[in-house]
Each structure stands twice: as structure tokens, then as C-alpha cells.
């Protein structure tokens, strides 16, 4: 697997994504600097692009709004348009929404506080490169760490119908409730995909839960699913 991890000024989960892709998954993982206009991994097209968490450009404007306009994002959009798998985590999810790669918006948490803690996620919706093969109804324990993760969309019913709600905040036994919703997201939505299914964004941090020494390895299932997807379909895109 060749993975490109986009690096904006203010990205701070870039090292973490590179660590999991490179050292836990054994991929060839490289940073893609925001001022670049092409995505390459040691001279090759990447198999996957990860937009990591952090505070791109300080997020002094709306979270992700500045990064969405940086040169590298044109290349990410082209990669995604050609069907390449893109995983957008936390600030990456915010950037993907601002860039139009994903629908909806992420706003201030209902608590008005930054929330850093484990949550439970139900995997559902249509198959994506990051969830294909994860058994239906599987509940993942993965941490969140954000102040602006309240997902809003004008037509949640359509998203649901199209199977584009991929992760939902639930309690430990899978129940959907307000108590299990850490930020006030509509319909407890934690992550979605685009219409084609190849771009997935989520607020929780799977890279922080990919090794049992950190308390949970549930997040690694996303990267395992990606590996399996690429093994089945080793075409190079982008």
C-alpha cells in the first residue's frame, strides 16, 4: 500500500496517521506538503490519501476553511474524482466538507467544549474502502478529540436512504441516544461517505485506536478493510 498523508500548517495528527499506516500497517507512507500540486509517494501515485486531524492554519476561520483552498487539495479532489480512496479524519473531515468532497458541515459541539474521550461507533451504510468486510452491527470503541464535530446536513433522510451514514455514535450496547451523542450531531452521525463511496470522513480518530497498548485496536479495522480492498482491486489511480 502506498499512502499519502496530507500535511497542512497546523496539522498535528499527521505523524500519528503516518505511524499507523507505516509502522502498524506496513504501508509506504509519505507526507504530501500543502504547497504541492501533485500527490506522489516515492514517485508513484498513491493508493490512498489520508487527510489527518489537527488545526490547519490554526482554524481561526471556520475549521478547515483555509486548508480547503490550499494547492494540494486540487490534487486530492482529482484523486477522489478518479475513484481513489480518501480517509478524512477529524480536521480532515472538516476540510473535506469545506472542500466539497463531502456533504454537510461540522459546527461547534453542543457542549461548547472540546471533547476528548472514547466513544462507541456503529458501522453501517453502504460498503466503502474503509468499512467493507467489517461485520454488520460491529461496535467500535474509538476516541474523539474535537470542539467542532456537530454534524449538520439539510437532508439527513437522503443521506440515510443512500446508505451514506457510515458511522453513528451509539452506547456500548449499540443504542442510539442523546446520551451517546458527544457533540449534538444530527441523527448521531459520526462519519459519512460521498455519493461514490470512496471518500469517507469521520470525527473520531481511528489512528488513535489501532494498537491494543493504547486501549483499543478497533480503529485498525478501517485500515485492515482498506488493505483488503486494495488487495482485491490493485488498480493505481490518480
Amino acid at each position: 500500500m502506498r499512502a499519502a498523508v496530507v500535511q497542512f500548517p497546523g496539522s498535528n495528527c499527521d505523524d500519528d496517521a503516518l505511524h499507523v499506516l507505516g509502522r502498524v500497517m506496513g504501508a509506504t507512507a509519505r507526507f504530501a506538503w500543502h504547497k504541492e500540486t501533485r500527490l506522489t509517494v516515492d514517485g508513484h501515485a498513491p493508493d490512498v490519501v489520508v487527510i489527518p486531524g489537527g488545526f490547519s492554519y490554526g482554524d481561526y476561520l471556520r475549521a478547515g476553511a483555509m486548508a480547503a483552498h490550499s494547492p494540494i487539495m486540487a490534487a486530492v479532489k482529482e484523486f477522489a474524482a478518479n475513484g481513489g480512496p480518501v480517509l478524512a479524519i477529524c480536521n480532515g473531515f472538516q476540510i473535506a466538507c469545506e472542500a466539497g468532497l463531502l456533504d454537510g458541515a461540522l459546527t461547534r459541539n453542543a457542549s461548547l467544549h472540546f471533547e476528548c474521550r472514547d466513544v462507541h461507533l456503529l458501522v453501517e451504510g453502504r460498503p466503502t474502502p474503509f468499512t467493507a468486510g467489517i461485520p454488520a452491527g460491529r461496535i467500535l470503541r474509538i476516541p474523539i478529540a474535537h470542539a467542532e464535530g456537530r454534524y449538520l446536513h439539510p437532508d439527513v433522510a437522503r443521506l440515510e436512504k443512500e446508505g451514506r451514514v457510515i458511522f453513528r455514535y451509539v452506547d456500548a450496547s449499540g443504542g442510539v441516544s442523546d446520551a451517546a451523542n458527544p457533540n449534538g450531531s444530527m441523527a448521531n452521525i459520526a462519519g459519512i461517505c460521498n455519493a461514490a463511496g470512496n471518500v469517507v470522513g469521520l470525527m473520531p480518530h481511528p489512528e488513535r485506536a489501532s494498537e491494543s497498548v493504547l486501549g483499543s485496536a478497533d480503529g485498525k479495522l478501517l485500515f485492515d478493510a482498506l488493505q483488503a480492498t486494495l488487495d482485491k482491486n490493485p488498480r493505481r489511480v490518480g
Binding site: P9, G10, N12, C13, D15, D16, H19, V20, R23, V24, G53, G54, F55, Y57, G58, D59, Y60, H113, F114, E115, C116, R117, P143, A145, A147, H205, E207, R208, E211, S212, V213, L214, G215
Partner: protein
């Protein structure tokens, strides 16, 4: 020496307004042989402030142990450095930001975090963790809620965006902090031993680079403000508080680390308190050189700034770097890549003087040595006459509570003991995928060291903790400081880490009052005594004096921070009893000895409304033996949990082990000590750790404890849904763990929600 038209006339009166005494001003006249210029007066006033010069504490700090086999850099640099093997070093320091945080809690706390992070990365280390030791006034004080919310949000706002996990610390409430809160921030970084940088302006003719954010008028005389008492007018000093920009700091970190890897860097120092003034003078002093500065080259964000303002600004996120002559372009290119300002603002000379030019005029020309050496005062100190009365406590006059279970529930809900989850949930404590023991899960935070680890699952780790019980220090500053060191040492030992070295943040009142000075002297003596005995040398630290408001001093608070090393981070144990009860079950035991010492305890304060008596006595040899035993048990992977006894004593420690896990569980315990029950349950004797382990392996546990020479007592078994504690005379406590948990979960939250 040119004088500017509209600059104030420099005289003794203006010097006094700058916080300089008549004697100090006379000394300046004597050094210069002429009156100083306005800019020079400003430079002297900040360099000779308590904050920058340590003039009251320095003679006493000399008594601290500062060397050891692991110490690479002791006090005197931007931060201390210890060796953790494999060519790696931990760089760490703690610093106060008390006064700014009281005036403007969000920015005060945020820039406190920013400042200590720069102290660590200026030495070549990437920050891997932060901790914050906070002290607020009474929960019911009208300002407390606002201050708690602002400080916590400020720490979160800066650390989270910068990308350093905030993994621990402490929070206490006491009326002595009503008008003067404490915000002590500790940063910990990882460096390579062959790439540690110092604040050294060496190499004649080498260029001096200004890098980072532009200079504005913020924070002028922050160091002077930190060196004076507070009064009603202090809140009008809000403009002296700086404003933090964690995004720029993050860029500055990456650019500085890149510069350090490039081979062109000679020396570098953070522009912290007293900004360009102290960074340039301290760097020149360390190298025994002089420096010429051209202020016209300084990047600025405001127009019309005077030389005085440029020299004294405390604008954040700036560094001063000396690079090799002829390689300026390489350095400037790195900062351009990160979109940061950088400019050559001076060069290294051999004159031993700092010469400052502004708009083609020389506005300051001063000898470095007296500025950097500062002043040294041997201020008078005296044990206050009321100290004897404070230590009086007739235990027989205290009526024991009729329901000890209800007392335990009440203590669990004390804001000093209750869960601080509301706080640490706002801190990103997991970024950098290193946090193996999260805040609240163990007595110390544990962060694994991924760099250089062949297998991330087997990586070594550092354990981190901060501690100080200011009631103990108030009742006996010598013993209180020793106890703070011992608790930190114990916290690291509970997770299985070998304590390596110490940083401190000494928060005291006005040193011009002999009783405050006595507290400081005694606390430093206690710190030195305990750090010598436990072999944890002091490698860095900070002194914050003048923590008084309207003449009322805080309780003496010598906060201690410590770093320990654990060979395999995954081995670290948490504080919660495990749920499973396979085979013979999980046994509970105590490493250490129970006593009836109750002076200065949370129980005495909360239940009997008194802060009195003598703090418990520390036996350093026993502390070392208990720590060694616990570390050996963790290394042998025999323990399921370990938790030290601190505020609330043995009963609270047992209750916390029952309720702080993901799945609360009960315990059945029997205590064989012949002690008055309330003192036995809630006394705060040090050197005690409650452990749990598979009962079937007790023989192995006892063998290792015996080798370490630590006292051991089997207490009982984990299980059920109640905490049951029996004494020799019968049942003492029998409470559902759900009730303990409810009290513990809500006790602090009610203050802020």
C-alpha cells in the same frame, strides 16, 4: 548616548515606578557612571526583577542537588535534560503563569503553556506531553468558577491546537488562593542526546536571527508585574497580559526542529519574560560575549514602536537564534518554508556589552555581566510566631464521626478529591498516539517513546506526575516540601517507573516579609533533602514570589514535577481494581505502614473545619523501599492495580480503586491496626501504596516485596458491589460503590456546571 525627544526623564522616581528600589537605582548609576537612558532603565528593571533574576531565592537554591548519573543538563538553561538511554533524552521544566492567569484566565493560562513549550523545544526536543498544576480559591468564591473555566479553556485552547497531549496535573481549592490563583505548567520533550541546543551566543561575528511572530506592544513589563504584589488596581494591568497563538507556535516548533537538523544553528533561546532583552543578554552572558542589536530589522506588527517597547515587548511565539556566519540564507529559507518571519537583527561581538541601535541611534550600551548576574539578596527570614499555634492539634478534642461510611462518601465528593474528568476531557490527552496511561487512570501519566522503538508495542515509556500539598507546607514548609517530592516519587513508582529527576515551581508570597522568606528557605531545604534521599536531582525550575493580594499571602506551594522511566510502557498499571475474579480471586494488600497522623489532612479540613497540626512524618528510606517494591512487582507483571494513599488516606485510596475503572467493583478489606478508626481510615501518612494482584500469586508478590525491604499487609479481596472495611472492633465502612462513585463524579462538576 542619544536621548529621544519625548522620552521621560530618567530619575530615581521613574526607577521606582519601574520596580527598582533606591539602592538598586544607585547601583545602576555606579555601574554606568552616568544616568541610564530610558531604554536602559527598562532593561535593568526587567533583568533585575525577581522574575528574571531570582534575586531573593538564588542563594538558597544553591543547596539543591542538581547532578546525577542521568543528568545531562541541570538548572541554568532553558530546561533540564536527563538521559533515558538509546541516545535519547527527556527535556523538561515547570513554570508559573499565576498573575496573568488571574487577570485574564484564558490568555494567561494559554501563554503559560506556550512559554513552557518553547523552553523545551528551544533545546532541540519535540514536546511529547504537558501537565498542569492548578490552585484556585474556595469553590464558593464568586470568581472561582470563571477562573476555572477560563484557565482550563486556555490550557486546552493552546495545547490542543499545538498538538501536545495534556496528560496530567492536579487541581486544588483553598481560600488562600481566592485572590491569587496558581497556574503551573510543565512541558516534557524528547530529544537526541547528540542534538541538544543551548542558549549560547558564541562565535564572533555570527549573525543573530529573530524568528517567529512579529513584535507588538503586548506584555510590556510582564516580568515586572510578576514581581509585585497584587492589589485592587491589578486588574487594570490586563494590557500587560500577552495573547497566545498556538498555530504560530506549532510552525515555530517545526521550523526550529528543521533548523536544528540543518547544522547551521549555534545557539537558540526563547523570547519569554522580558522578550528580546533577556534572551539576548542571557545568550551573550552564557558565551561570555557581547551582542549588537539593530532594532530597525525587528519584524513588527504595529507602527511607531519605540526602542524601549521593542526591547521589552513580551509578544509570544518568538525565538532568538545565533547561526553560523555565511549560512544565514539556509536558516532564512527554513523559516520561509513555514511562512514565519525571520530577520538578521544583530551579531555576536567580543565587547562584553549589549549595544542596541534604533533609527540609527544607539539607545542602549550596557555591560552584560551585571545585567545577567543580577542581584543577590540574603533577605531576612524568621519562623512566624504563630507557627507553634498552627501546629497545635489535640486529637482527643475531635469527635469521631458517627457514620464513617457517610464521611467517606462526603470526602469522595470533596472538590479536592472528586473526579476531574470535566477538566481533562477538554484537553486533548491522546494526540501523538503515545498516551498509554491516560489522566485519571493511574497515579502518573505514561507516554510511550515511539522513536527508535523496534516494535511500537514494546516501546519504553516515561511516567510523569506533579504534586504538592500546600496545607502540609503551610503547617511545616520543610516537611511539606519533602512530602511533595515523596508523593511524586511514589506516583511514578505505582505505575512501575523509575523516578529519574525533578523540576519544581516554587510559589510563595512576598519575600520581603520574613515569614514568607522563612517558608521559602525551609521548603527549598526540604526539597533538597528529599531529592537527595530519593536520588531525584532537580534539573530545572522556576520561582514565583509575590503571590499575595492586598497583603494576604498564599499558602506556600512548592510544586514538584518528576519524570520516570519504564522499560516497557505497556507494563504500566492503573489505579483501578480489575473486575474479573477467576480462580482464587484478586487480593488487595498495602505496601507501607498505617499511622494515626491526621494533621493537615483533607478529613480534618473538610469534616472538622481545621487546618492544623503537624504534617505526617516522611521516612525517606521507607518511601524508597515501598517504591522499589512496587516497581519490581510491575516489572514482574504481578500487579493488577497500584494506587497511592494521599488526600483522604487509605479509605479514599481503596474507594478510588473500586470506582475509577470502566467497571466499578467492590472490595472486602480488614485492617488489623490498633488505631482510632477515623484516623486509621483518613490519616494521610505517606509511603503507602494499595496494590491488587491475583491471589494465587501471593507468594511471588511477598518474595519481591521482601527483597525490596518494604512493609506488606494483606488487606482483603476485590469483589461484590460494596466497599466493606472492617477494623479490629468490627465494621467501619459498608457502602455501595455506586454511592461512592456518584459522590466522586459530581463533587467537582457542580462547581463548574
Amino acid at each position: 548616548m542619544a536621548h529621544h525627544g519625548h522620552e521621560p526623564t530618567v530619575d530615581a522616581q521613574l526607577a521606582r515606578e519601574h520596580g527598582l528600589s533606591a539602592d538598586e537605582y544607585a547601583r545602576i548609576l555606579q555601574i554606568l557612571g552616568r544616568p541610564p537612558t530610558f531604554t536602559e532603565l527598562g532593561i535593568f528593571s526587567v533583568m533585575w526583577s525577581e522574575h528574571c533574576s531570582y534575586k531573593s531565592s538564588r542563594v538558597h537554591l544553591r543547596g539543591l542537588p542538581t547532578s546525577g548519573p542521568r543528568v545531562i543538563q541541570g538548572p541554568g538553561e532553558n530546561a533540564g535534560v536527563v538521559d533515558i538511554g538509546d541516545g535519547q533524552a527527556i527535556v523538561f521544566k515547570m513554570e508559573s503563569h499565576n498573575h496573568p492567569s488571574f487577570i485574564e484566565p484564558y490568555q494567561g493560562a494559554a501563554t503559560g503553556v506556550g512559554g513552557i513549550l518553547r523552553d523545551v523545544f528551544t533545546m532541540g526536543a519535540r514536546p511529547i506531553a504537558c501537565l498542569d498544576s492548578l490552585r484556585f480559591g474556595r469553590p464558593e468564591h464568586p470568581k472561582t468558577r470563571h477562573l476555572v473555566e477560563g484557565v482550563v479553556a486556555g490550557i486546552a485552547g493552546y495545547g490542543n491546537a499545538f498538538g501536545v497531549p495534556t496528560v496530567g496535573g492536579e487541581v486544588y481549592f483553598d481560600d488562600s488562593y481566592d485572590g491569587n490563583i496558581l497556574v503551573n505548567a510543565m512541558a516534557v520533550g524528547l530529544a537526541r542526546t547528540d542534538r541538544i541546543f543551548k542558549g549560547n551566543a558564541s562565535g564572533l561575528g555570527n549573525p543573530v536571527l529573530y524568528v517567529g511572530a512579529k513584535t507588538g506592544r503586548d506584555g510590556i513589563h510582564g516580568a515586572t508585574m510578576a514581581s509585585a504584589e497584587f492589589d485592587d488596581a491589578s486588574e487594570s494591568k490586563r494590557p500587560t497580559v500577552q495573547v497566545g497563538d498556538p498555530f504560530t507556535e506549532k510552525l515555530l516548533l517545526e521550523a526550529c526542529l528543521e533548523l536544528m537538523g540543518s547544522g547551521v544553528l549555534v545557539g537558540i533561546q526563547d523570547m519569554g519574560a522580558a522578550g528580546l532583552t533577556s534572551s539576548s543578554i542571557e545568550m551573550a552572558a552564557r558565551a561570555g560575549n557581547g551582542l549588537e542589536l539593530d532594532l530597525d530589522a525587528v519584524p513588527r506588527r504595529e507602527t511607531g514602536m519605540t526602542g524601549y517597547e521593542l526591547m521589552l515587548s513580551e509578544s509570544q511565539e518568538r525565538m532568538l537564534a545565533v547561526v553560523q556566519r555565511g549560512r544565514e540564507a539556509e536558516a532564512l529559507a527554513i523559516f520561509a518554508k513555514w511562512d514565519l518571519d525571520a530577520a538578521v537583527v544583530g551579531r555576536v561581538t567580543d565587547t562584553g556589552r549589549i549595544v542596541v541601535k534604533h533609527e540609527s541611534r544607539t539607545i542602549a550600551d550596557l555591560p552584560i555581566e551585571p545585567l545577567a548576574e543580577g542581584l543577590r539578596y540574603e533577605r531576612p527570614f524568621a519562623r512566624p510566631p504563630e507557627q507553634d499555634a498552627r501546629q497545635q492539634l489535640d486529637v482527643s478534642s475531635l469527635t469521631p464521626p458517627s457514620d464513617l461510611g457517610a464521611t467517606l462518601v462526603a470526602l469522595m465528593g470533596s472538590p479536592n478529591i472528586a473526579s476531574k474528568e470535566w477538566i481533562f476531557r477538554q484537553y486533548d490527552h491522546m494526540v501523538r498516539v503515545g498516551t498509554v496511561q491516560r489522566p485519571g487512570a493511574a497515579d502518573a501519566a505514561v507516554v510511550r517513546i515511539l522513536d527508535g522503538a523496534p516494535d511500537p508495542a514494546e516501546a519504553k515509556g516515561v511516567a510523569l506526575a506533579t504534586d504538592c500539598n500546600s496545607r502540609f507546607c503551610f503547617l511545616d514548609p520543610f516537611e511539606g516540601a519533602r512530602l511533595a517530592v515523596a508523593e511524586c516519587y511514589r506516583n511514578l513508582s505505582t505505575v512501575g517507573a523509575e523516578p529519574l529527576a525533578t523540576t519544581d515551581c516554587l510559589n510563595f508570597g512576598n519575600p520581603e516579609r520574613p515569614e514568607n522568606m522563612w517558608q521559602l528557605v525551609e521548603a527549598i531545604r526540604g526539597l533538597g533533602d528529599a531529592c537527595r534521599a530519593l536520588e531525584t536531582p532537580v534539573v530545572s525550575g522556576n520561582v514565583s514570589l509575590y503571590n499575595d493580594t492586598d497583603g494576604k499571602s498564599i499558602k506556600p506551594t512548592p510544586t514538584v514535577g518528576m519524570v520516570g522511566l519504564i522499560g516497557r510502557a505497556a507494563d504500566a498499571v492503573g489505579q483501578a481494581f480489575p473486575l474479573d475474579e477467576k480462580d482464587e480471586g484478586v487480593a488487595i494488600a498495602l505496601l507501607g505502614v498505617n499511622t494515626d497522623e491526621i494533621g493537615g489532612s483533607e478529613y480534618l479540613a473538610r469534616v472538622h473545619g481545621r487546618v492544623a497540626g503537624r504534617p505526617p512524618q516522611l521516612h525517606a528510606a521507607r518511601e524508597a523501599a515501598v517504591g522499589k517494591a512496587c516497581r519490581a512487582l510491575v516489572a514482574a507483571r504481578l500487579l493488577r492495580s497500584a494506587h497511592d494513599c494521599s488526600e483522604g488516606g487509605l479509605a479514599v485510596a481503596l474507594a478510588e480503586s473500586c470506582i475509577t475503572g470502566a467497571h466499578p467493583v467492590g472490595a472486602n478489606v480488614r485492617l488489623e491496626d490498633d488505631l482510632r478508626p477515623d484516623l486509621l481510615l483518613f490519616g494521610e501518612a505517606p509511603s503507602r501504596i494499595v496494590i491488587s494482584y491475583p491471589a494465587a500469586r501471593e507468594a511471588e508478590v511477598k518474595a519481591l516485596v521482601a527483597v525490596a525491604g518494604a512493609p506488606f499487609a494483606r488487606l482483603g479481596l476485590v469483589g461484590g458491589s460494596r466497599l466493606v472495611i472492617a477494623g479490629k472492633a468490627g465494621s467501619l465502612v459498608d457502602v455501595p460503590v455506586a454511592e461512592l462513585r456518584r459522590a466522586w463524579q459530581t463533587g467537582f462538576k457542580t462547581i463548574v456546571t
